[in-house]
Symmetry: none
Subunit: 281 residues, 2 copies
């Protein structure tokens, strides 16, 4: 950063060739990465030795030294810009797609702590950690989330139930007691099967945690602890993905909170040993 300013500052007191070099470097700072001193000389129309002398005159040890300084400047500048400017309009299709997706995702994830009170997360974690059984449910995209969370909970040694069949899930629910917990995941918060489960939970006094999009919905109203993931990307294809990932991310946060509570490194080691065995041919 300082480097480019320094060059700019000395522009006036430079000779013709030096100035050409300086201009070229300022204009193509981001490309300098790929130039050797000779190439730079050719590009500007001067000799390689002049390039080196130019560098030394500016106070650098030699050409690589200047090059590195310029690269650093470019990178800090672009890092800062990336955060500040939010978006870069023109890029190759694929890169663009990926950047866009990552940007949206990052904002969605950042939002998690804003729309969920810390207390809700702590509540949810303590419910889960005290539960003798945990019933997970979610259909459609949310099934992935429920499934994922089931896996994590099982890893922690928690008894976690989940099934993709709503009828069977109700059967499973009938085995719960008030020491158990239900964790219901739904984008809309209106899925009828989940609402049935919620009613059942209320009747049997089973603590209910909901994980839905951040908007008023029946499921979160019925829940003892309501957790939310941001929704609302305008793109119909992207939005479901973001919501799902945000939900998963929230689950992962809960999982890590549980890890901190029960110091379960032992179990994890065990389970990774198991995985190792599975990978033997």
């Amino acid at each position: 950063m300082v480097c480019l300013l320094k060059i700019r500052g000395m522009l006036e007191q430079m000779s013709v060739i030096e100035r050409k070099l300086a201009d070229f470097i300022l204009d193509n700072a981001n490309l300098l990465r790929d130039y050797s001193s000779q190439q730079l000389a050719d590009a500007v129309g001067t000799s390689q030795s002049s390039v080196v002398k130019f560098c030394q005159k500016l106070g650098y040890k030699g050409y690589p030294d200047l090059k590195l300084a310029v690269s650093e400047a470019v990178i800090t500048a672009s890092t800062l810009n990336r955060d500040n400017q939010e978006q870069n309009p023109v890029q190759s299709g694929l890169v663009n797609l990926v950047e866009q997706l990552q940007f949206s995702l990052t904002s969605h994830l950042r939002g998690i702590l804003e729309i969920n009170e810390e207390k809700s997360l702590l509540d949810a974690a303590s419910h889960l950690s005290q539960a003798d059984k945990i019933l997970l449910a979610g259909y459609g995209t949310s099934a992935i989330v429920a499934h994922d969370m089931q896996f994590r909970l099982l890893q922690l040694g928690k008894l976690a139930l989940q099934h993709s069949d709503p009828a069977l899930t109700l059967q499973l629910a009938s085995t719960l007691s008030s020491n158990s917990v239900m964790l219901l995941v739904s984008e809309s918060g209106q899925n009828s099967d989940l609402l049935k489960l919620a009613r059942y939970a209320k009747n049997k006094n089973i603590p209910l945690i909901s994980l839905t999009s951040f908007k008023a919905n029946a499921l979160s109203m019925a829940a003892n602890t309501a957790l939310y993931a941001l929704s609302g990307d305008e793109n119909v294809r992207v939005n479901p993905i973001l919501v799902q990932l945000a939900q998963q991310h929230l689950c992962h946060i809960l999982y890590l909170m549980l890890c901190q509570r029960q110091n379960s490194d032992h179990q994890l080691e065990e389970s990774s040993k198991l995985l190792h065995i599975l990978e033997q041919p």
Copy 2:
């Protein structure tokens, strides 16, 4: 940023000397600036040529290339840290946990485009888009990824098969032709059930796409198109989560690429209408 993650992710499969080099670089990333390949070799106690070979093995053109990448990593990291630390000096455990997780995740996701050549992604997308059937498989954490991707592909109207039972999956595989595609997901790339599937695919000439961690592994060797997700967070509890999310993210990118190809907004609308129906009580 990604550069150091990449190195960390490959630590396991390195030889003694390579590992010494990697450790030294990771420990002294900020000092590498001032090392020539020879000096680095001396510092680690190896030969200059080994240093160069190490760089090339990691995918860099040569030593200066690696050096620059490391410098970039150091600078972006320090710039980001500066920003983060300015914003949040001391925090509660929870906020800290979340920030940490998001930061790691972001780096992992950013890395996707760096460790996967654009060509691989395009290849994978065109394989998937041309396939008459797609068999997905993954066990353990990767099952979630496979399951997720199945859901997306079905939404696009692609015939996507997946089952959690390895034996049944083999049965499913027997229904594939050379117009089909297999997409196998595995963190390690060594799962024996998946390798069986891979062998089968090879015999029947079925195109094979692998999605594994970024390190040499049997599965990606066997694949026609090898896709990678970064691995290598030091925390044993966090790493599996990051790998899984990176894998899912990569799948989502593929999904969006497919969306762009077949302009399938129509189908998506249909399917969201369906979802709406499901949510009527």
